[in-house]
Symmetry: C2
DNA sequence: GCCGGAATATTTACAATGGAAACTTAATGA
DNA sequence: TCATTAAGTTTCCATTGTAAATATTCCGGC
């Protein structure tokens, strides 16, 4: 191999990593095919061999984002004692990620930039992220008047209720709509805005 | 004026209207400077005299979106009897808009495409939209344990809680994350997921 | 009525982007 | 060893937003 690396050898993960870096440093705007390729030191059409166009590459980056989102949340959850404090930890973890990785959060939830319907890996990663909330919602006691539902539907409803709330907060913060201090700290914490749920034991 | 309209005469609103049309017909992707100008039948640099680049034009379109959002919600609210049903009407109205005008909803809440911080008109319109929810939250009785807050902060907290919830639901639906029937109808209504709030009288 | 400046549009040019096509280089395995 | 295939490069093109120079019309003061 005298003509050192015509073939990169490990381009696929390298491109994803480059994308993650650019996302942190320059935000969503900087995330172009050419910029990502250039950062790896490769021609701008090289990614075509590993991803289905820009959408494919962005989807792979978003998938990695979901995996990290899930992992960080999961860690926060396990560090907290079971019960209400775990619920709180999960919510705080969800928001913390959205605040610390704003551009990534936007990418993850932008159907414009990634196509969940078309990318299996992305859908799986997103589901794993949702799964953490799901686990939390299991212990959550949230009765409401109205027609009785099957246990499955009832569980689903609780999960979704929780997700709607947490995601709403994260989105508004991410979009800069949440009133905040001059230094960026929101006036109200997630937990201060969250309805009071019953948590069995 | 024999050389009919070198000057359009009413270009600014015409461009905004064209943008609204494209948004409905083709979604956010179709919303380019050139496409908007072409639809009005004008050169692609003409908008420069009326808007500050693409961002300015998109911001103006988003502002119109917020105004309509506010107006539709307001109408739904006024058609409902005061009290809990108004709360419900506002929530349903918020979501209805997000579902019926998905592309617009995305534009309105994408800091990437519009710059609220830089566009006064946009910020005002967005505030008017928030104001409808604000009015609703006034009658809402939502005590929580914890340190006592000033009436202003307390009111703010209630508004935000409501907004977080409604916006979270709308966002998830808009991003296609909400479980739904084959025909697109969400499995759970907003009201089915919403916490039960006390409404005075 | 006329004229000069200010608005308003157009034309032309340019840099950046994503993608297609043809080509080159390296790895692989029969 | 050598054809096949995977992986990268080059070149080219259409589309996009923006800037600069230019053209056309409008309007207020005379």
């Amino acid at each position: 191999m005298h003509k050192k690396n015509y073939h990169h050898g490990d381009l696929k993960p390298a491109l994803i990593q480059a994308g993650l870096d650019i996302l942190e440093e320059e935000g969503l705007e900087g995330l172009s095919m050419r910029a990502i390729a250039a950062r790896v030191g490769v021609s701008h059409t090289a990614p075509k061999n590993h991803f289905d166009g820009l959408h494919g590459l962005l989807s792979a980056i978003a998938a990695e984002g979901f995996r990290r989102h899930a992992a960080e949340m999961q860690k926060d959850v396990e560090d907290a004692p079971p019960g209400r404090e775990r619920l709180d930890a999960a919510c705080v973890g969800y928001i913390k990620f959205a605040r610390e990785h704003g551009a990534m959060f936007r990418l993850m939830f932008s159907p414009r930039f990634n196509k969940k319907a078309e990318e299996e890996e992305l859908a799986t990663a997103a589901a794993s992220s949702y799964g953490v909330l799901r686990g939390i919602a299991e212990g959550l006691n949230w009765q409401r008047p109205g027609p009785e539902l099957s246990p499955e539907l009832e569980a689903m409803r609780t999960e979704l209720m929780l997700w709607v709330f947490v995601h709403g907060y994260a989105s508004l913060v991410n979009e800069g709509q949440m009133p905040a201090d001059p230094d960026g700290k929101p006036l109200f914490d997630v937990l201060e805005l969250m309805p009071q749920f019953d948590y069995g034991n």
